[in-house]
Amino acid sequence: MKRRIDLPLLITLTILALFVFVPMISAFEYSIRTPVEGGYGLTNYKWAVADEDFLYYILRSGWLSALTVLVTLVILVPTVTWLHLSDSKLRPLIDGLSLLPLVIPVVAFAVGAQISLPEFVQNTVLELPFLYFILALPYAYRALDIGLNSIPLKTITEAARSTGASWSRTIISVIIPVIRGAVMGTIALTFALSLGEYTLTVLLHWDTFPTWVTFVAQENILGAIAISMMSLIIPFILLTGITLLMPDRSAQRRK
């Protein structure tokens, strides 16, 4: 491995960093201004966190997203596993269907959902996890599909089944741990997508954390900016930290 500084890479990274961080840092500077007292302070952040709605909407978006992840895993993992094992004729069909939500703009999907879903569905916020599931489907399905493609699924399943494991046990304690990379990817993606989803939620007149931010903006724009900064920077630092701390999987495999 050459250890000298790679100039083209360095230039690329510098430009990318400027592109990403200049707006982010300048927005951060703006969000810590305190117009009343002058100078800087965390007034806007304190105001946002002190608002009792803050916690309420974070928790609400949190459990809705967790439920979406649950729905996604419970429906998709057995389905995709079965499609891989059975060589069913349905496989190309479901492969194609799972990509369809990519074709439909979310706005159009929201209109369709609003005019078609029966009242008892539209009256409960529990419709959101299922609709978010549809939005995340193209990515979640593909992640699981690739995960299952990379393992000797038939052998593993036969081994588990012949030693007496039931189907549910085979999936929960054998298949999921083997493809945990793909499952973790699916969880992260589905959770992030649900947490940030705005278009569908607002058009169906539900309130979650992202829609609450636009509501806050009407009375306190600085507070809304502070909340936006938190919702951009916190996942940014968290996810980057996790990837940096996680052991290098490709290196492990080579050993």
């Binding site: 790679d6 083209p8 890479l9 690329t12 430009i15 592109f19 990403v20 200049v22 707006p23 300048s26 927005a27 951060f28 703006y30 969000s31 998709l76 057995p78 389905t79 059975s86 349905l90 479901i94 369809l100 939500p101 990519l102 074709v103 703009p105 979310v106 706005v107 159009a108 999907f109 209109v111 369709g112 005019i115 078609s116 879903l117 299922f130 599931f133 549809i134 489907l137 993606l189 992030a192 940030g196 705005y198 278009t199 607002v202 058009l203 992202p210 931010v213 903006a217 900016i225 909340i227 936006s228 919702s231 951009l232 996810l239 996790i242 990837t243 996680m246 290098d248 490709s250 290196a251």
Partner: protein
């Protein structure tokens, strides 16, 4: 007797066949039911209702109105902003993906992939507020630039205009380009450069005869996906504009909320159907190219 044997044999065979048939669909049933109810049914009904007049009779009227003012301008603006944001993001995004994938250490690659994922997906509302704070009228970056003698508000610029929205869209389009184009770069193998060199090709020869032709389909596919993402984006534009910039998703949202009244109740549905068609023109070729490319990329 012979008929009896047949009668005994046949149902058995048939029932075994039937059993096979049922089990060959049954495990997929929960998925198919949920997908059908929450996706196929709404979209089918949307298409159906878009052809309905206020009196529930069949009509093309909604579509005729969809192509008149102000909705036709909405489509033109939406297509223009999607096309331009995809085009501007595609080249730097592809080049960045190339340098990161071919020269970056694996930790850097993974953390950049994660960061790009966050940027491309969290987007929406927080992004709009971030840009308001950065390059809004009183924004920090605006002031810094002014200090250096560049007044971005000297002309007609504002975040709610076409240029303003375009600028904000680039912030999620560029990371998206890096994400979707990286797999194509990864599939370029070092052996091919060496093979080309052994056959007497220069670096430029390699790129024009091998590299670019191999990457071109994926580049077009990525561009199409970016187009679709810019075309459908709603949240950012909704937060930044105040009805001054006609964009189709915003117009549909306005009609759905009843903020904007139209004499035709189902106009919003017709606009949605046209949107689906335009988006399909971009996404379906993307999916086809991706599938073809995946065949040799996976090897």
């Amino acid at each position: 007797m012979t008929s009896n044997i047949k009668a005994e044999g046949a149902p058995l065979e048939r029932s075994a066949f039937r059993f096979f048939k049922i089990t060959s669909v049954l495990p997929a049933l929960p998925f198919l039911l949920i997908f059908g109810f929450f996706f196929i049914y709404p979209i089918t009904k949307l298409i159906y209702v878009s052809f309905m007049s206020n009196e529930n009779t069949f009509t093309f009227g909604n579509f005729q109105t969809a192509f008149t003012q102000p909705y036709s301008t909405g489509f033109v603006n939406s297509i223009k902003i999607a096309f331009l944001s995809a085009l501007i993001a595609a080249f730097p995004g592809a080049i960045a993906a190339y340098f990161i994938e071919t020269r970056g250490p694996s930790k850097l690659k993974r953390s950049l992939a994660m960061m790009n994922g966050v940027l491309a997906n969290t987007g929406g509302v927080p992004l709009a507020f971030m840009f308001m704070a950065a390059i809004g009228m009183q924004g920090t970056l605006t002031k810094v630039l002014k200090y250096f003698g560049i007044d971005i508000y000297a002309g007609t610029f504002s975040l709610g205009t076409f240029t303003g929205i375009l600028l904000v869209y680039l912030y999620f389009q560029l990371p998206l380009m890096v994400i979707v184009f990286s797999p194509a770069i990864m599939s370029l193998r070092r052996e091919w450069v060496e093979a080309a060199k052994n056959l007497g090709a220069s670096q430029i020869n390699y790129w024009f005869r091998v590299g670019f032709p191999l990457l071109f389909p994926s580049f077009i596919a990525s561009f199409l996906l970016l187009f679709a993402s810019g075309f459908s984006a709603y949240a950012t534009a909704n937060a930044l504009t105040v009805g001054n910039l006609p964009l189709t998703p915003l117009q549909i949202g306005g009609l759905l909320d009843g903020n904007v009244s139209a004499s035709q109740l189902n106009l919003g549905k017709a606009l949605s159907v046209v949107m689906i068609l335009i988006s399909a023109v971009a996404v379906i070729p993307y999916l086809i190219i991706q599938r073809k490319a995946a065949r040799w990329q996976r090897r």
